[in-house]
Symmetry: C2
Subunit: 98 residues, 2 copies
DNA sequence: CAGGATCCTGATCGATACTG
DNA sequence: CAGTATCGATCAGGATCCTG
């Protein structure tokens, strides 16, 4: 076998983790701050942070920090992330038929 | 908050586990036996068995055992599972743009 | 405000061996 | 053939506390 995991499987693994879908779905509505995402997803900071970093590594989400006090950081979908919208909607559509 | 997890998140969790996507994708091509799925996915029997049971519990896959020696068991997509095809293809389509 | 560091528990997974 | 049993390693996720 010796096959390397396909990108889609890696992605699905990430998508399957706690909070990934809610985060992505929240960002479809536009850029959000860390605290807003925390509110909407109900995730503890550690988990939210981990998830965002993974999504960033996967180039689905971008991080923008504004150098001010107190700090302000915005998370947004990248072009690649936007491309996912269709698939996410297909999933949501399918969910309705359950 | 106090929200129960949405079905789609439960599903994504399952889909994110080792082998789920390959199994589903193999079954899109038609019913398969346990050993065939083992071959195609490269999963150890334990993991394949666990995954199939989860997919069965989620009513995406059906199991049919023929009472003969040696035993023969077929796994196939249910109607509900077939409904997923579109979303899986959307995912695959998106993967190509990576 | 936006996280990082620690600690810890339970889930998950692969390898291997065995059976109806 | 189609699984199950067992074991050990690894990993994910929550809670809590701390800081630039």
């Amino acid at each position: 076998m010796l096959e390397v995991e396909r990108p889609i499987e890696v992605f699905l693994e990430i998508l399957g983790r706690r909070g990934s879908f809610p985060i992505l779905w929240a960002l479809v509505r536009g850029p959000q701050r860390f605290s807003a995402l925390q509110q909407e997803t109900g995730l503890p900071p550690r988990t939210l942070s981990l998830r965002l970093k993974e999504l960033e590594d996967f180039a689905l989400v971008s991080r923008t920090a504004y150098p001010q006090v107190p700090p302000r950081v915005d998370y947004a979908l990248t072009k690649k992330g936007e491309g996912l919208k269709g698939a996410l909607e297909a999933l949501l559509e399918w969910e309705k038929t359950l």
